[in-house]
Amino acid sequence: MMSPLASTVLFHVGPVPITEAVVATWAIMAVLVAGSALVSRGLKLVPSKAQTTFELIVDTVDGQIRDTMQLAPAPYRAFIGTLFTFIFVANWSSLIPGVKPPTAQIETDAALALVVFAAIIWFGIRAGGVGGYLKTFATPSLVMIPLNVIETITRTFSMLVRLFGNVMSGVFVIGIVLSLAGLLVPIPLMALDLLTGAVQAYIFAILAMVFIAGAVGDAKPARALPTPRITP
């Protein structure tokens, strides 16, 4: 059986090997970009059916951001929405026969976790300046600096491992059952895998929101509503 940590190289562009996951990622990106460009091209005040559907999605994302972060959703809508949509579509891309979800490769998840890591720093600095963001590491006291630094790294790592472990184990279990039992038997497991994929996309987006809200809330000097900080 192939190792779940190995990746299949399809072809080379110059010296750079292009793996299966990279091709799948770019295909998903192309579909998402083309789809959103197509939908948002002719926006009307009295919306069509397609526009209503997508407005509903945007509205749901906005509501989740407002509930979780206790902040105005506008600055975070694009980032969180893209994150959720991409991971959701990537996890469900296993519905297409022959496609392995790119999130089942540890490299894709590492990239996503690094994007969130950078976003936390960026939103933190934007809310309170460099000094204000660095000061969040020293809350509540100076003794906490090493712990806060370690926490920043480990929570990124745990996001990576969580997404990778869940999606990869789904693909792996389906492969094992398919090799043991054959046709039609893995279908319940595939349904479970779809549920896990949707829940993991939601959780990844929620955790990104919670971490960003933590950085933004701490960096701002005075805030009425304290956001709950969840540490992994």
Partner: protein, 81 residues
Amino acid sequence: MNWLAFCSIISAALAVSFGAIGPALAEGRAVAAAMDAIARQPESASTISRTLFVGLAMIETMAIYCLVIALLLLFANPLLK
């Protein structure tokens, strides 16, 4: 099959089995507590279930760590090279 490979397979199985016990108990308690809370206050169900999902993800990470350790032992064992 040498001694080191034998030990790796046994410890991978041990890691997954014992790593599943703790998170399973913890998730059961978390869901039970959330059900209790929703039964008492149905109007705050959305907040409770969102927090529950995040908490479950945190708990589940422990099991996933054990799974990753087992996979490292089986597929990327540095001692078997």
